[in-house]
Point group: C2
DNA sequence: AGTTGGCACTCGGGAATTCTGAGTGCCAGA
DNA sequence: TCTGGCACTCAGAATTCCCGAGTGCCAACT
């Protein structure tokens, strides 16, 4: 049904439309691409492509634009992931290498991604659920108040103030700290709570209540999955470039960017960095964003994806370039996380 | 020159223009406000106000709109800071009270502020320069690598990986940790570096190099003023409401929001929470944002302002309401920081 | 003095209208 | 199966028209 030439025509339409932002007609198509046939022939092919639902006409006397289905075919079959130039790779490496801590890595990544793709970039912080405990620290604030600090292998730091029912001696505190760390360091956060249930038994009657209280706060902190909604966003200014229909594309997107929970559903489950997920138009799980596409992938130390990053943009975007950039950034970030 | 009635007219113009978004003419003005005079009289007053530069005509056959100078007079002389309703105050209190840590406080504040004012909200993280050290922690990662964690009184956490020139015994590490904390806890971060210069002397020759290295990283961390550029932004979606001239007002603002350094110059120096700073149009230190106003104030535990928060919006905004909201949020955040 | 009604004048911007050319579908011929 | 030719369509730019909100000014009034 769709011979090679028709696929070539579709590819040409997608590429032209993405770069010119104008519906493309049969004449310019044969001028700009070496199709080796006349406009009339291309018109026939276009008619077929339209019938099959890959392209459409905004209005009778205009050229064709790809439909979501058309982009889908393009992404799946008509293009391969571009590889970045050496200069770009080096730029990524040097830009990310200056990062001093996790926050810095995330912020640099999001800026970089926005810059490379000229789209809105989103980077999710490593999920606590998939991190392990690096260290737990207890810092005295006052005699009735203590700061619980939890440091994860991915560099995230959670802190909670604990109100103490009764004061705690320094040596008891030291003991608790030691026990706590031997119990949970290296463990998944999800296991942490269950690993410490027996700890209060190791203390004198008087201190049990305090210890229990501290452990309760710890359990609460690791269970608090609101924290896994943490994301960084960049490149919002790039929204202005797809200025055309403000209300239909920019407004809902700006609103979605405020709702981090929504963003995470857009990014989807963290996949391996080598697998780039593309969601096009109506495939995006949010009907307000029917004019939007998402390109995302997972990242994390080694091959263990601990979170997702990606970009959001108009369905009319340069998919090969976006996929390449997302992939490259995810790889570099993963590498950095492996080292740290 | 400007008698009371002329000021009333100006106030009426500002209020009407802010709520209707339309240039206001002499006729509707007398209809909507009890000025007790005829349109003709109001016209005469308007002519004077225009001559003095407080209002202007977009074009000959239109009503008047306030100039920056007009808004300035309005803010300075014609309005007092509204006080929020009891319900609003309670809403603020309960919304902010659920915060578990600094990040949470900042994010909640920025959302709250955006919601209350229906503008773009900005909250600067407490500046390190004005914070004191609460605790310094050294966590071993590998024998050649160590994590330096710095916790401030305002709840900010800085971390740095230290590459060790040679391994460090556990007891030496413990000793260093203790010395380090007695030396810097409670001190300003700016003093921290100088407080520890003599520490290496307390260690054996072999360990001096390692200790020096660790202290160097600490010094670097406290000196790194890039960290004071940390801000949270919320309510970007509110930008869509002043949709009119996209290029002149939204685009530059979106761009500015990406540049955190620029934002900080907008917010300005942290003032006492009771002093709300208003910058109107051209008074904003960035000519691209000539159609934008900023309402900001400082916040911090007690009366010591450690950072700034505020909102950014079109010059045509409800200043009394914005000022009240900014002020209220700053007070509550300050209160929370005092307690933590 | 300051205030008011009357009146001629201005002009932005919405509505109606015209124009143009890019693009199409179809058909007959190669 | 491809191609050149041709009549047809129609969105959007350009043009024109028109209305009425709003003004400034002046003479009269308090």
């Amino acid at each position: 049904m769709l011979d090679d030439r028709k696929l070539d025509v579709l590819r040409a339409i997608v590429e032209d439309y993405v770069s010119t932002r104008e519906p493309v007609g049969s004449k310019v198509l044969v001028e700009r691409h070496q199709l080796g046939v006349s406009p009339a022939t291309v018109r026939n092919d276009m008619a077929v492509l339209e019938e099959e639902g890959f392209i459409t006409q905004p209005h009778t006397s205009a050229g064709r634009i790809p439909t979501d289905k058309g982009y889908r075919l393009f992404v799946d079959k008509l293009t391969s992931v571009k590889t970045l130039s050496g200069a770009e790779k080096r730029a990524i490496a040097t830009f990310l290498e200056g990062a001093v801590d996790l926050d810095d890595v995330v912020h640099r990544s999001v800026r970089l991604l926005a810059q490379l793709t000229q789209q809105v970039a989103i980077v999710q912080y490593p999920t606590l659920a998939r991190s392990t405990v690096r260290h737990v620290e207890l810092v005295t604030i006052t005699s009735a108040r203590l700061l619980l600090v939890l440091i994860t292998s991915t560099g995230r730091v959670e802190q909670r103030v604990v109100e103490l029912p009764s004061p705690l001696e320094d040596d008891v505190l030291g003991e608790l700290r030691a026990h706590l760390n031997t119990a949970v360091v290296g463990r998944r956060l999800s296991e942490a709570a269950s690993r410490v249930t027996s700890l209060p038994e190791m203390f004198h009657r008087d201190d049990k209540a305090v210890v229990t209280q501290i452990l309760a706060v710890l359990a609460e902190a690791v269970a608090d999955n609101r924290n896994d909604e943490k994301v960084a966003i960049g490149g919002t200014a790039n929204l202005v470039r797809f200025g055309e229909d403000f209300d239909r594309s920019i407004k809902p997107l700006l609103e979605a960017l405020e709702e981090h929970v929504v963003l995470l559903t857009l990014l989807g489950e963290a996949t391996s960095p080598s697998l780039v997920t593309v969601r096009i138009g109506h495939e995006v799980p949010h009907e307000q964003l029917a004019a939007t596409s998402v390109v995302a992938t997972g990242y994390g130390p080694g091959d263990r994806a601990v979170a997702t990053l990606g970009i959001v943009g108009p369905t009319r975007m340069d998919y090969p370039a976006s996929m390449a950039a997302v992939n490259a950034v995810a790889r570099y970030v993963s590498k950095i996380l492996s080292e740290a």
